[in-house]
């Protein structure tokens, strides 16, 4: 099964939307080492620029509006993700436990919807 590991941290620790603060000198290499350790199990992954760089396109009743900022203001923000292959939830949780964090944070573990059979064949 594939699982998305969504990384939520208070983005203030990263030193601005480009996340180039001093903490990255430590956190960057840890992510690099972690993705290396994941090897084949890692299907995709990236860090995201801060929510200051976020734009939200909202559709309400068929009408679309553009907003500055993330879809919701929260204490911790989505800051990056890993897409991993894991046998079951326990295996995915075991990987989630090891995702590097700057300080406190949360990793949301979400299974991917399976690809509908027709679409999977076309790929």
């Amino acid at each position: 099964m594939q699982y998305m590991l969504l990384i939520y941290e208070n983005e203030e620790i990263f030193g601005g939307p480009d996340k180039t603060g001093p903490i990255m000198a430590d956190l960057g290499p840890r992510h690099f080492a972690f993705s290396h350790e994941l090897g084949e199990k890692m299907r995709a992954g990236a860090g995201l620029k801060g929510t200051e760089a976020a734009t939200t396109v909202r559709t309400t009743g068929g009408k679309q509006t553009i907003h500055d900022g993330p879809f919701a203001e929260t204490r911790e923000q989505l800051g990056g993700f890993y897409l991993v292959e894991a046998e079951d939830l326990d295996a995915a949780i075991a990987i989630a436990r090891k995702v590097p964090l700057g300080k406190d944070g949360a990793i949301e573990v979400r299974p991917l919807l399976p690809m509908p059979p027709g679409l999977a064949a076309k790929r």
């Binding site: 079951d88 939830l89 326990d90 995915a92």
Partner: protein
């Protein structure tokens, strides 16, 4: 008469059959529905008085439930694909084996681990275990959990969906996840037993529920005979159940542990508890569940009301326990023992050192405080503490007890 026999058969066989089906098809709903189908067929086939039950009713139910599961799967596929009915698949070697009268594969341990996965909310875990492993009805569980049947049914649906969608495996966890997964099973059973224990009389309609807790812990010990904490929980539940006949007086008022007449305690249950207790102690040093078991064992060692209560030893056990598990309930229980050994003032100081705001809604805190204040003659404060405790909807027996104490205070 016959209905009672059938219910008993269904209840006894249900956990094992649901577990076998769930492990085979990796689908909790399917397992429940197929077993329900087979019970309906059983009522038709052998429901009338005078008809003979099959030699092995459980095996009969399992075979029929298996067929029902396959039927349901086929109907689902047809609904999904809108294809004509396919012929029934020829039984595989595994099917033939599983259809043998004597063999219902025992997958209950897997089912327990699935229902108690830490990714499922704690209350839902307990409810799901009681439903699927112990075979309680939604109505019975809802009553024990003090929620409406609709709420509980929704909770069960959500939990089952989570298990299906999140990829929780139907396997006994491997060594790297063992400790955490076992801890989740034990805490689930503790939550479930706490609900059964709240009913002091065991007389409300979920009276059978405590019995199911005895069964499920016995089962777990049989399957995990070398896990000290599993044995300790089994012992603890038996010690606690043994005291049930003494927990209420004739008027339905709660009797505190130290005032219970040991002559009323169930000796066979205490004996059983001691056997589990000895096995647990043979396997492990003091962990928090071992200590809780020991505290129960100390109390259940009392032979008559004339024996002095074991407060000193109980306090010593709480002193160690509080190092291992520092939570309010342990602190409060320790303070109660402290009052008997060192004095009421010391105990009250302990309680008042706890964070009163987080405990504002915690009944045992106010009940313990009220008692200590009353014993110090601080009647007005005691009265307020009793009011607080009573406002937190205690069970009927405890409510009567608190009211009685409060009335004494007011000189009534």
């Amino acid at each position: 008469m016959r209905a009672g026999v059938l219910d008993e058969t269904f209840r006894a066989a249900g956990g094992r059959i649901r577990a076998a089906l769930a492990a085979r098809y990796r689908d909790l709903d399917l397992a429940e529905e197929a077993f329900a189908d087979s019970c309906l067929k059983a009522v038709k086939a052998w429901g009338d008085e005078g008809q003979d039950l099959p030699r092995d009713p459980a095996a009969w139910l399992y075979r029929v439930a298996e067929r029902a599961a396959l039927d349901r799967l086929r109907r689902r596929r047809i609904r999904a694909d809108n294809r004509p009915n396919e012929p029934e698949p020829a039984p595989t070697a595994e099917d033939r084996l599983a259809s043998d009268d004597a063999i219902i594969p025992d997958e209950r341990l897997k089912l327990i681990f699935v229902c108690c996965h830490p990714a499922v909310g704690p209350d839902s875990r307990a409810a799901l275990t009681l439903k699927l492993v112990c075979g309680l009805t939604t109505e019975e569980i809802a009553r024990a959990f003090l929620v409406s049947e609709t709420t509980l049914a929704q909770r069960l649906v959500r939990a089952k969906r989570k298990i299906a969608e999140a990829g929780i495996s139907f396997e006994v966890p491997g060594p790297e996840h063992w400790a955490e997964r076992l801890a989740a099973v034990l805490s689930t059973l503790e939550v479930a037993y706490a609900k059964a224990h709240e009913d002091a009389a065991g007389s409300s309609r979920h009276a059978g529920f405590a019995r199911e807790m005895l069964e499920v812990t016995a089962l777990l010990c049989e399957m995990l005979p070398r896990e000290a904490e599993v044995l300790a929980l089994a012992a603890t539940i038996r010690f606690a159940e043994a005291r049930r006949p003494a927990r209420m007086d004739a008027e339905g008022v709660m009797v505190p542990l130290a005032e219970q007449d040991p002559a009323l305690w169930s000796k066979p249950l205490i004996e059983e508890a001691r056997r589990y207790c000895a096995r647990a102690l043979g396997l492990s040093g003091p962990g928090s569940r071992i200590l809780q078991m020991m505290i129960h064992a100390l109390w259940c060692g009392r032979k008559t009301l004339a024996d002095p209560p074991p407060w000193k030893a109980v306090l010593a056990a709480y002193d160690i326990l509080v190092e291992l598990r520092d939570d309010p309930i342990v602190r409060i229980n320790r303070a109660v023992a402290l009052a008997e050994v060192k004095g009421v003032n010391d105990a009250l100081a302990e309680l008042d050192a706890l964070d009163g705001t987080t405990l504002a809604e915690f009944l045992p805190f106010h009940a313990a405080r009220a008692d200590l204040l009353a014993r110090l003659g601080r009647d007005r404060e005691a009265n307020t503490a009793y009011d607080r405790a009573l406002a937190l909807s205690p069970g009927e027996a405890e409510r009567l007890f608190l009211l009685q104490k409060q009335r004494l205070l007011l000189g009534g």
